[in-house]
Amino acid sequence: MLEYRNLVKKFGERTILKGINLKINQGEIVFILGTSGTGKSVLLKNTVGLLKPDAGEIWIDGEEVAGFSEFEFLKIRKKCGMVFQHPALFDSLTIYENIAFGLRKHFSLSESEISSRVNRALKLVNIHDINDKRPAEISYGMQKRVSLARTVALEPKVLLFDEPTTGLDPVTTNAINELIKDLSRTLKTTSLVVSHDMPCALSIADRIVVFDQGQIVDQGTPQELLNSKVKLVQEFLAEAKEMLDHDSNVIRGTTS
């Protein structure tokens, strides 16, 4: 479904992606973990043509897209939806218009079809009765969900999530993670999630890929990653364990 072959991306003298080779199968949920600045978001942006790779190939649905023009990428962006780190909603539009915006551009739909797809997308992310509000009038967590709804409304085959739970409280984080899982199962989409959230990756990912300094240092199923000998993976696991212990202590009331 999605494959990267020797993908290289540089910013000036700095090489961000150093020959990434990765294949993602249809319907798979793949988490990309790694410290900040290792090129995880850059990989996603290269996938949909928001950045151009310096070398290598990107295959989506049997098509090599790395050399595509902005116009040619339009059809790829219909197939691949991206949820950004920021909600990236348009301030001047209502929630309804934000979601309908892409539908009007990408498809020739009647107003009733657009309305039904907007409402279906909002229902999928568990949001009701905010159609006429503007982004500034709803919480950050809700904005993130609306951003997800905007992408889901286009019914893409591939969903790319760039740190979807950054800056959210634990309750909303869990809700968003459950949503990613549910959407991938119900809509049969392939999901590529960039995240720092190891506990979540262990619970919902089919496969976890670990990035360090622009390279893949380890990958496997959550079970395989638990036995990894790679130092960075062990550090992530230790951090995850500490977080889980802390949470359970808070629940038991032994830690403030």
Binding site: K45, V48, G102, H106, R150
Partner: protein, 249 residues
């Protein structure tokens, strides 16, 4: 030096894409009128206030220096009118629009870039140049031309009042002197200058907005750079256009 060439190349690329979008893609009419209202109506009183004082300074300074050199300021009304129409009206209007409208555009587009709204637009199949730049380009160009005419009229009116009250030249004397010095094409050239200035402001502001780096300082830096470069460009363009128009006299 390579960076300067790269930046100039990027700017010319943006100009090329803008021209293509302008003629090949549909215009967002409602957004364009909203922007025109913001540019023209929103800046009117600031421009009227500033050009009035510019007129006062022009009249008083011209009179002072003419009296100093040739012991006579009878040419001041005609000379001041010419200066207002050929230079002051258009340049002061454009510089004020740069700080009010240009800074606003750079900050708005820069914030959209930082919060990934520009990327979101591209993901939804919408060209950010067509969506953001074109309405602002048309609105600022038209707004600058309209404001330039208004600024010229107000500026001359203020100059006429000061000539009457301070120098003792009645309005009829002022208009007679003006009629001798000024030609209709001076007003036309002034509006042509305003058109070029009006195109420059949103182009430069959007250019810096589109390449804004993340963070609050990124938006601040984009805004500052856009105001500085737009102001320099207006002064430089004024020289080029004045020099070119001198061949028509």
């Amino acid at each position: 030096m390579t960076t300067i060439y790269r930046d100039v190349y990027s700017f010319l690329e943006l100009v090329k894409k803008t021209v293509m979008s302008l003629f090949l893609k549909p215009l967002r009419v409602k957004e364009t009128f909203q922007q025109l209202y913001f540019v023209a109506n929103g800046s009117l009183w600031i421009i009227v206030f500033c050009v009035c004082f510019a007129a006062v300074v022009t009249i008083l300074e011209s009179s002072f220096h003419m009296k100093l050199v040739i012991q006579n300021d009878s040419m001041v009304p005609g000379f001041a009118s010419l200066l207002i129409l050929r230079e002051l009206g258009a340049v002061v209007t454009a510089l004020l629009l740069t700080s009010r409208v240009g800074a606003g555009i750079a900050a708005e587009v820069g914030s959209m870039k930082v919060t990934e709204q520009i990327d979101a637009l591209r993901m939804l199949g919408i060209d950010p140049i067509q969506f953001l730049l074109i309405p602002r380009l048309i609105a600022t160009t038209l707004g600058c031309m309209i404001l330039c005419v208004v600024a010229n009229l107000i500026c001359i009116f203020a100059a006429m009042i000061i000539s009457d009250q301070v120098l003792g030249y009645t309005p009829s004397m002022f208009l007679t002197a003006m009629n001798r010095f000024v030609q209709f094409r001076d007003l036309i050239f002034s509006v042509v200058k305003a058109m070029f200035f009006g195109m420059t402001i949103p182009m430069i502001s959007c250019f810096f907005g589109f390449r804004c780096k993340s963070g609050a300082d990124g938006v601040g830096s984009a805004t500052t750079q856009s105001v500085v470069f737009a102001s320099i460009s207006i002064i430089f363009l004024d020289f080029i256009l004045s020099y070119t128009f001198s061949y028509f006299y």
